[in-house]
């Protein structure tokens, strides 16, 4: 499949202060290849460089070094052409305050060159799809945060983009609104088959939406792959807890397939295995056969949140672990 986004050796440093002496290296040589119609997530703690990377890919920011190709076009030279075919949604959506929902959609439709009836039809359609009918004549600054984000999503598809950039699209939203927004993102992807690049520090969101995820920390991609592959990559394993009476055969546990580590203390055995569901039956049978009486078994599978914590170790981020 063709590549929608291709980035090679992206570096970005921000300079601040009166003499531009303060430097912050935001990106340190990012390489990225995203296929057409893929939903790709960039996950990382605050300050990891997610928004910087997304801004570079959508042509709002120029890299210091490196090449970016969007839909086969060089972002440095073909920025204007790229902008016709991409769009953006950002968390904390901000549009012109005193324009109503409908006027904002008309305004952005005009910016993309949609004329007269074509624009009118498109705006009506988007108002319907994103359930904005009741709010279409309300000024932007009077909308709820959820409604603002819906408008942001509606605006983002007004030019039928081939690539959509979502910068923390559910940041600051209530959980129920977040769930609705995620469903809408999935439905946009399903119906339009567009490539989506999403930044988030919400693990469940990344796992729910993205086919592949890149972990970004301090401007570098630490790992990239599917959620499952990333879980395997950190090798932290699933945890099986067994409460028992009697004796556990420790030497058999050491030799058992898939066991990474285990501890036994005061009638509680904690075993770390590569794949919990696969190993659970075998381990329970082994312990039962040794004569120990099993009282309670719990399985806790590793999730992306554990992977995130593992990858984010060493940063002073206030990682947003809530869903």
């Amino acid at each position: 499949m063709a590549l929608a986004i291709e980035a090679e050796g992206i570096f970005k440093t921000f300079r601040s202060g009166w003499w531009k002496k303060r430097e912050k290296q935001a990106l340190k040589g990012i390489d990225l290849q995203i296929e057409e119609k893929e939903i790709f997530g960039i996950l990382g703690p605050n300050g990891a460089g997610k928004t910087t990377l997304l801004s570079i890919l959508c042509t709002l920011l120029l890299p210091d070094r490196g090449n970016v190709h969007i839909l086969g076009m060089d972002s440095l030279y073909d920025g204007h052409q790229i902008r016709k075919r991409v769009n953006i949604v950002s968390g904390n959506a901000n549009f012109l305050w005193s324009l109503t929902v409908k006027e904002n959609l008309h305004y952005y439709g005009m910016l993309y060159g949609l004329t007269g009836k074509e624009r009118g039809k498109k705006v009506e359609m988007l108002i319907d799809i994103f359930n904005l009918k009741e709010h279409q004549n309300i000024p932007f600054d009077e909308l709820s945060t959820g409604m603002k984000q819906r408008l942001s999503l509606a605006k983002s598809v007004i030019n039928d983009p081939e690539v959509l950039f979502l910068d923390e699209p559910t940041a600051g939203l209530d959980p129920d609104v977040s769930i609705r927004i995620r469903r809408e993102i999935l439905s946009i992807h399903k119906e339009r088959g567009i490539t989506i690049l999403l930044t988030t520090h919400n693990m469940k969101e990344a796992e729910y939406l993205c086919g592949r995820i890149a972990f970004l920390r301090e401007g570098e991609i630490l790992a990239m792959g599917s959620a499952e592959a990333l879980k395997r990559m950190v090798r932290i394993g699933d945890q099986i807890k067994i409460e028992f009476k009697g004796t556990i055969p420790e030497d058999e546990l050491v030799r058992a397939d898939g066991v990474i580590n285990f501890t036994i203390s005061d009638h509680l055995c904690e075993i770390i295995v590569d794949e919990g569901e696969k190993r659970l039956g075998m381990l329970v049978a082994m312990i039962a056969q040794s004569g120990a009486q099993i009282k309670k078994v719990t399985l806790r599978q590793v999730d992306l949140e554990d992977v995130f914590v593992e990858f984010a170790k060493g940063t002073d981020s206030d990682m947003g672990l809530s869903v």
């Binding site: 921000f14 120029l62 204007h80 052409q81 016709k84 324009l99 993309y112």
Partner: protein, 267 residues
């Protein structure tokens, strides 16, 4: 350019006109901008000319100045607003992620500025005729059109300067939208001939197109400030400034994309 591309380009220009118009329509402050302040300023100065018992030519000299100032102020602020509204709404990045050219942004906002400031001109010229007996049509339609065009171009140039400063300095620069035109009025001799200014201001005034447009229109009311080829100088300078500022605007926009100002101003 194909007709559909032309239609798209015109629609993009219209977008900025639409934005400024809708926001101005909803904004009480906008009514003050086009009605209250120009009218208050006009009558304050007009009544002062009555009190000082100035002859009709001197009254004309001063009223031409105050009306010109109001026209430029209202027109240039619309050009500046095209970025300021986005700046205040923190929606700058949504405008610049769209495939719009900088000239479309300036042209669309300038057109609405021309409409609004022409309304101000009509209003004040009616008042000046009724209250102070100054006939703005005395020079004839042609000179009046040239004079107004000169004012509108000067306003475009001032508004573009504000936009450039906004992209360079962000929120710190929005004050320029109200102060630039005041500074120009001081130097270009809104209420007095520029030759009474101390050195080096008369020389600086000669580098500003408004000086020539004022001299041109006032010449029909019996004043000769000694400038030659005033229209050529006025339009020439205005044209040069607009072209230079168009390039500067593109350059600072590129700089804003490099430094991250567009993102910062949208947060």
């Amino acid at each position: 350019m194909s007709s559909s591309n032309l239609q798209k380009a015109l629609t993009q220009i219209w977008a900025f006109l639409f934005k400024n118009w809708i926001i101005a329509k909803r904004n009480v402050f906008a009514i003050f901008e086009i009605l209250f302040w120009p009218v208050v300023g006009f009558f304050s100065v007009g009544l002062l000319t009555s009190f000082l018992e100035l002859d009709s030519n001197k009254t004309g000299f001063i009223l031409v100045g105050i009306i010109s100032m109001s026209v430029i102020q209202v027109c240039q602020i619309d050009v500046a607003y095209v970025l300021l509204y986005d700046l205040w709404s923190k929606s700058l990045k949504h405008t610049f992620i769209a495939p719009v050219q900088s000239f479309q942004l300036i042209l669309g906002s300038w057109l609405i500025g021309v409409v609004r400031s022409f309304f101000v001109f009509l209003l004040l010229s009616i008042f000046s005729s009724l209250a102070f007996g100054l006939d703005f049509l005395r020079p004839g339609i042609g000179p009046l059109v040239l004079f107004l065009l000169g004012l509108f171009l000067t306003a475009a140039s001032v508004g573009m300067s504000v936009c450039i400063l906004v992209l360079l300095f962000g929120y710190m620069a929005d004050v320029a939208a109200w102060s630039f035109s005041g500074l120009i009025s001081l130097i270009c001799g809104i209420y007095y001939p520029v030759f009474i200014l101390p050195f080096p201001f008369p020389q600086i005034a000669q580098a500003i197109p408004l000086t020539y447009f004022l001299a041109y229109f006032r010449s029909f009311y019996g004043f000769n400030e000694g400038f030659k080829n005033v229209l050529a100088w006025g339009f020439g300078l205005a044209g040069v400034y607009i072209v230079v500022e168009a390039f500067l605007f593109k350059a600072v926009l590129q700089r804003a994309r490099r430094t991250g100002v567009l993102i910062k101003l949208s947060e």
